[in-house]
């Protein structure tokens, strides 16, 4: 019951005027990012990191995580009203949500997803509240070999689950690792790969790389196509009919469980959660033919699942320091920039911070419920802002944002360079998430590997001599082999490929 007392302390922190304001700003931006089809949560969080520089770490993370889970709510609105997903986790909602809108039931679709999202989100945060501390305590026993194995397992899962080919995933991961090696080596002091540039001495800045790879590349990608908007349907009545409550609530329950479990797996992003939830709903339904024609479960399940996922994804971040999706990787980068080391020690060393952020997520979900039930119409209007106005604004904001970090035009240039690289990577199906993940974790991967090897008598065998790390690594090998085999047999589902963000 310690958790409850600590959580109440966290509320004290989260409910200060400023933190409430940052939470409100965060979830509003999240809604905005979610509603806009051209901008996903990863790009949104990456582009806004510079604005958090002057803030206290707690406020900064409150705002950034608000963007993350806020966008999961927002994406639904455009999926239902104009059949265009605002972010990729809501792709599946288009199927039945848009059909419901065509039948004049847009309000119900939005109402159900808002309620489901709230239940899913809050349940996942409760999970973090009660599972977080014991998990962190367990992870405190980890030494360098265990950590290295865990990091490797996370990366393998990410590579195995995302993108078209395992080989491309591994290349992207190696690329990220190479980038992380640039600069001065903290152990030996050796200067690596700076090509004589003073600016590279301290390594590449995470924000610069993330903003380029995720943000700028997204805009370049969007520049290819013409964005045309349909007129949104009108919204009437937000609640389902009486006989629909039971199936809706059980769909929400299943979505919560599924999304939560998938959130815990490193590498499985919210798109996977919502897609799996949709197929689960279709399987358990008495009459599967209703799906695709406006089945309410087909909206409630996936929308709940992606919110439960975004809450649960915070658990591995807070307890192990391992991001489970690209957006969480960006938030992890923000942790490091604010001088916090994500991982098991966080609960002990920075309890105010941890519990403040957790409490703020409850508050944020409540704000989002209000945003989405009575105010859904307002957000639907915002989705109609033409992209031609928006993208120059996003571009200039990111340029000024990156510049403001170190007042350096060099950083701006690097961001543009990585924007070009990111664009090419998206075109070539090289998963950017893998690059950014290894880039963030690179220093940790190298130091844990070197420390383990330095203490080992049998070289690489140390990873298999210790039980926890042995199990983790064996698991990793099994997954790698399976995904390679499925790649050769061409059985990888094409569905997941398309929605990397």
């Amino acid at each position: 019951m310690d958790s409850i007392a600590l959580l109440l302390g966290g509320f004290e922190h989260a409910l200060t005027l400023w933190n409430l304001l940052y939470c409100l700003i965060g979830v509003s931006i999240g809604m905005f990012v979610g509603v806009l089809p051209g901008l996903g949560p990863v790009a949104g969080t990456a582009l806004l990191i510079p604005l958090t520089f002057g803030m206290e770490p707690t406020s900064a993370i409150i705002m950034l995580s608000g963007i993350f889970y806020g966008s999961m709510y927002g994406g639904t609105i455009t999926s239902v009203l104009i059949n265009t997903p605002g972010e990729s986790a809501s792709v599946i909602t288009c199927i039945d949500g848009y059909q419901m809108a065509k039948q004049g039931r847009a309000g119900t679709a939005l109402g159900v997803s808002a309620i489901g999202s709230f239940i899913g989100g809050v349940t996942a945060i409760l999970g973090l509240t009660f599972l977080g501390p014991p998990l962190a305590e367990f992870a405190l026993k980890f030494g360098p070999p265990e950590y290295f194995s865990l990091l490797l397992l996370g990366l393998i899962m990410l590579v195995g689950l995302m993108g078209k080919s395992v080989i491309r995933g591994l290349i992207a991961a190696c690329f990220g690792l190479m980038l992380s090696l640039i600069g001065m080596d903290p152990v030996s002091g050796a200067i690596r790969f700076t090509f004589g540039q003073m600016e590279l001495l301290e390594g590449l800045d995470f924000v610069v790389v993330a903003m380029g790879l995720f943000g700028i590349s997204e805009i370049l990608l969007n520049a290819e196509k013409h964005m045309k908007m349909e007129k949104p349907s009108t919204i009437q009545g937000l609640l389902p009919e009486r006989h629909e409550w039971k199936p809706t609530l059980s769909a929400i329950g299943r979505g919560t469980g599924l999304g939560f479990l998938i959130g815990l797996i490193p590498g499985a992003n919210s798109v996977i959660a919502s897609i799996l939830s949709y197929s689960l709903e279709k399987k358990v339904a008495k009459d599967p033919s209703r799906f695709g024609k406006g089945a309410i479960e087909g909206v409630a399940g996936p929308e709940t699942a992606n919110n439960a996922h975004s809450g649960a994804a915070m658990i591995p971040l807070f307890t192990l320091g391992i991001p489970s999706s690209p957006t969480v990787a960006v938030i992890l980068g923000a942790f490091i920039m604010h001088g916090l080391t994500p991982g098991p020690a966080l609960f002990q060393n920075n309890p105010d911070f941890v519990w403040g952020v957790i409490a703020s997520m409850f508050v944020g979900n409540l704000i989002l419920l209000i945003f989405n039930l009575p105010l859904a119409r307002v957000w639907a209007k915002i989705a109609m802002v033409p992209y031609e106005i928006l993208f120059p604004l996003i571009l200039i904001l990111s340029v000024v944002g990156v510049y403001s970090i170190n007042s350096s035009l060099w950083d701006v240039g690097m961001m543009i360079l990585f924007g070009g690289i990111g664009y090419l990577m998206k075109k070539l199906d090289l998963p950017i998430a893998a690059t950014v993940l290894t880039f963030v974790l690179g220093a940790q991967i190298e130091s844990t590997l070197l420390q383990s090897l330095a203490t080992s008598q049998n070289g690489l065998l140390i990873f298999f001599e210790r039980p926890i790390s042995g199990v983790l690594l064996t698991l990793g090998c099994v997954i790698l082999v399976f995904s390679l085999i499925s790649g050769i047999k061409k059985r990888r589902s094409t569905l997941i490929n398309d929605f990397e963000l």
């Binding site: 604005l51 190696c174 190479m178 790969f193 370049l220 904001l397 403001s404 543009i416 924007g419 070539l428």
Partner: protein, 143 residues
Amino acid sequence: MWAGIGVSLFSLTFLLLSLEFSYTGPAGPGPGFMPIWISGIMLVLSLFYILESARDKDGTGELMPRGAALKSVFFVLVCLVLYLILMPILGFIAASVLFLFTLFVRHYKWHTSIGVAVVVTFLLFWLFGSVLNVDLPESTFGW
């Protein structure tokens, strides 16, 4: 295919550069350990990648945009680079107005574009310059 060759060249360069660092340090592996392994693995992977894309006929050629789409991607990139080059010369305000105007004018009337560009620039100048205390680049004339 070309991308695969690009990747292998990249990893080869880094592999050669990595050889400069000592493989072993005073206590176990040294600063050269990770770079050599990673770039080596990447080189091997890139060979597989080339094989994979050679077998897969409908590969990258289809993926790259052509014509108008390619042009607008390049247009945005060139605008960004020019903006970066012009900022220290013209100063933040003039460069930003110019940058925004060029991007807007393709879709809107010129007077609307100028209006929006000026308003946005001054808003950003105020937000970053005065509120967040960032030293934005100035031209030789001091603005």
